[in-house]
């Protein structure tokens, strides 16, 4: 395990230390950092992959220790996965996930959004894409009102200057029926 609690032991050669926003230190295997484009670029720029270079702790000001813990869990699980292919259309359109991923992302929306921000900051494309897909799958098949509830969207309403009654401006009558179109059965997988 590369994920460890704050440590004072000497840093092994193939590890770097990252510091979360709340000051916790994590030892991270260089092999794991390959999945994060941000860390990989940083390591390459500072030549931290060389044994004779002194490795200073990397501060990650936008990521809390809880998020870092979660991210390391992801990196560990995908350690031996093939390199992420951005244009894999069959992967990107699917709403079916590994059991492990489903359990891993079985978290409240607010934590999910924080993790999305962290994945974006560290540039971990597989995690980023998976969270986006999970978010999309959470609102698929839901009505506009249900989507508002799930995503905690506050509708843009204005109060009538005379009556004080909210005026709903965000849907026109001609567009109301548009979102209620019925879909033909999904095509078989290719």
């Amino acid at each position: 395990m590369s994920c460890e609690e704050p440590t004072t032991s000497p840093t092994p050669e193939n590890n770097i230390t990252v510091v979360s926003s709340d000051g916790k230190e994590f030892l991270l295997d260089l092999k794991l950092t390959e999945q994060s484009e941000t860390l990989a670029r940083l390591i390459s720029n500072f030549e931290y992959d060389r044994t004779d270079v002194k490795k200073d702790p990397v501060p990650l000001g936008n990521i809390t220790s809880a998020q870092m813990q979660k991210i390391i869990e992801w990196l560990q699980h995908h350690r031996y996965y093939p390199k992420w292919e951005q244009n894999d259309i069959h992967y990107s359109t699917s709403f079916t996930f590994e059991t492990w991923v489903e359990e891993y992302l079985n978290i409240p929306n607010n934590e999910m959004f924080e993790l999305l921000n962290a994945a974006n900051y560290l540039n971990i494309p597989r995690l980023f894409s998976t969270i986006c897909r999970i978010m999309a799958s959470r609102i698929t098949g839901k009505s506009a009102e249900q989507i508002r509830t799930v995503l905690n969207i506050k509708t843009d309403v204005k109060n009538d200057v005379y009556t004080g009654i909210p005026i709903q401006e965000d849907s026109s009558s001609s567009e109301d029926g548009m979102s209620e179109i019925s879909l033909s059965p999904s095509p078989p997988p290719i």
């Binding site: 809880a66 359109t93 999309a136 965000d170």
Partner: protein
């Protein structure tokens, strides 16, 4: 005597301070058994000061459970915690964990767009109904469609009706809607159609609808988009419309990516054809097919445009016209450019570029099909041979010719964006196999 007694400490079993994203504070606390909620405005929590009321409670009372909730992570939370630690005597912060109530609204536009990219078309339509912000966001994202089609009785139905169908390229979900009444079509289909044409990159737009319905649709589009209409279509097919007016409107507002135009108007003026030929989208299209042309000299104007624009090899123009009249007019127009003419009246015309020529083929009948295609000038004979093979199915010699194979390949390469509307249903294909 009473005044000498130290004042009894006030007891607040629970105190919750919440700072929302608009920097407004609310304090929810229990005074004994009584719950009290106080909302504060403009107390500048961003400066990291402890709320004066909480400050007072801490100095003059006992707080059982203090909860501080800040919607967005900001510097004020750290400062508030420092103040709390200074002022409190028995604080236990070992299990303290900052709780930021991040939600969809806190995501950046870029991240929201990435999430929307993974949503089905129908989900996007529903998301854009949730608020004005989401509507603007969803509408700013273009979506690719394999096809958008309007036709009559495309799928079997007991009564005759007009069908609107489309399929997005990413999720390949096909949608079809049927309408028997004009009012129904106007109410449901037109807004949807308008929307798809507005946000979609459409591979094939097959508009097989009569002129009245088409007029209705285009009027709505014009009205909704306040004259700023821009279609992104690769193939435009319309063999139902008798007039050229509606097609002209679509083509005039198409971006230059239009590759194929297949139309069959029957009731139009020469002036309209002239307008059609002069359109840059028509001149730049790779494949133009007008079913019937009464004013051939005007149609030949397109060939002049080709020469002027030096169009790419493979560009093709087809129409039906009176044979001899067309050939005569053609020869009159391009007399100086005709390189060769054979006994079938097939001709090659010189272009300004030396590497390409225009090949003209015509059928044998009085009223026949005319085909113009830009081919490489070098393997000229092969090009003619290929054309013979294409237009005369009885000519079997050509199929064995190696060079002609090259041209066949080239012809197929040209239509890389396959039209998938007319694919056989999967079930039928499987049964056959």
């Amino acid at each position: 005597m009473e005044s000498d007694k130290p004042p009894q400490a006030l007891h607040f079993p629970r105190v919750a301070v919440k700072v929302d994203s608009r920097q407004k504070e609310s304090i929810n606390f229990m005074f004994g058994e009584t719950p009290i909620l106080i909302k504060c405005v403009n107390l500048s929590p961003s400066r990291g000061r402890l709320n004066p009321l909480v400050d007072y409670m801490m100095r003059n009372g006992e707080i059982g459970d203090l909860q501080v909730k800040v919607e967005k992570p900001n510097k004020s939370l750290g400062k508030i915690m420092e103040t709390l630690l200074e002022k409190s005597e028995k604080s236990d912060l070992s299990n303290w964990k900052p709780f930021f109530d991040t939600n969809w609204n806190d995501l950046t536009e870029k991240l929201k767009k990435k999430c929307i990219d993974f949503m089905h078309f129908k989900t996007r339509l529903r998301l854009r109904k949730t608020s004005k912000t989401e509507r603007l966001l969803v509408d700013s994202l273009k979506l690719d469609f394999d096809f958008l089609k309007i036709d009559t009785n495309g799928r079997r139905c007991y009564e005759e009706c007009t069908e609107l169908s489309f399929r997005d390229s990413k999720f390949r979900q096909e949608v079809y809607l049927k309408f028997s009444e004009m009012s129904e079509f106007h109410k449901t289909a037109v807004p949807l159609l308008t929307y798809i044409l507005k946000i979609g990159n459409i591979n094939t737009f097959a508009c097989e609808m009569n002129d009245i319905w088409m007029y209705e649709m285009l009027s709505e589009i014009r009205c909704q988009q306040e004259g700023n209409v821009k279609f992104r279509i690769k193939k435009y097919l319309n063999s139902m419309s008798l007039e050229l007016k509606q097609t002209l409107f679509v083509l005039e507002n198409c971006e230059h990516e239009l590759k194929t135009i297949v139309i069959d108007p029957k009731e139009y003026e020469e002036e309209e054809l002239q307008r059609f030929v002069c359109l840059s989208t028509v001149a730049n299209a790779q494949n133009v097919n007008i079913g019937h042309v009464s004013f051939t000299s005007t149609a030949i104007g397109l060939i002049e445009k080709w020469i002027e624009n030096d169009v790419a090899i493979g560009t093709k123009f087809e129409f039906d016209a009176v044979r001899q009249e067309t050939i005569d007019e053609f020869v009159t127009n391009f007399e100086e450019r005709v390189i060769s003419r054979n006994k079938y009246d097939d001709m090659t015309i010189r272009m300004d570029s030396l590497d390409r020529v225009i090949c003209m083929k015509c059928g044998p009948f009085y009223y026949t099909s005319m085909t113009f295609i830009v081919i490489p000038s070098d393997p000229l004979e092969s090009a003619l041979l290929f054309d013979k093979r294409l237009y005369s199915s009885t000519d079997s010699d050509a199929s064995s010719d190696e060079e002609s194979v090259e041209f066949v390949k080239y012809r197929f390469d040209e239509s890389e964006d396959d039209d998938e509307i007319y694919h056989e249903p999967l079930a039928v294909t499987l049964l056959k196999n």
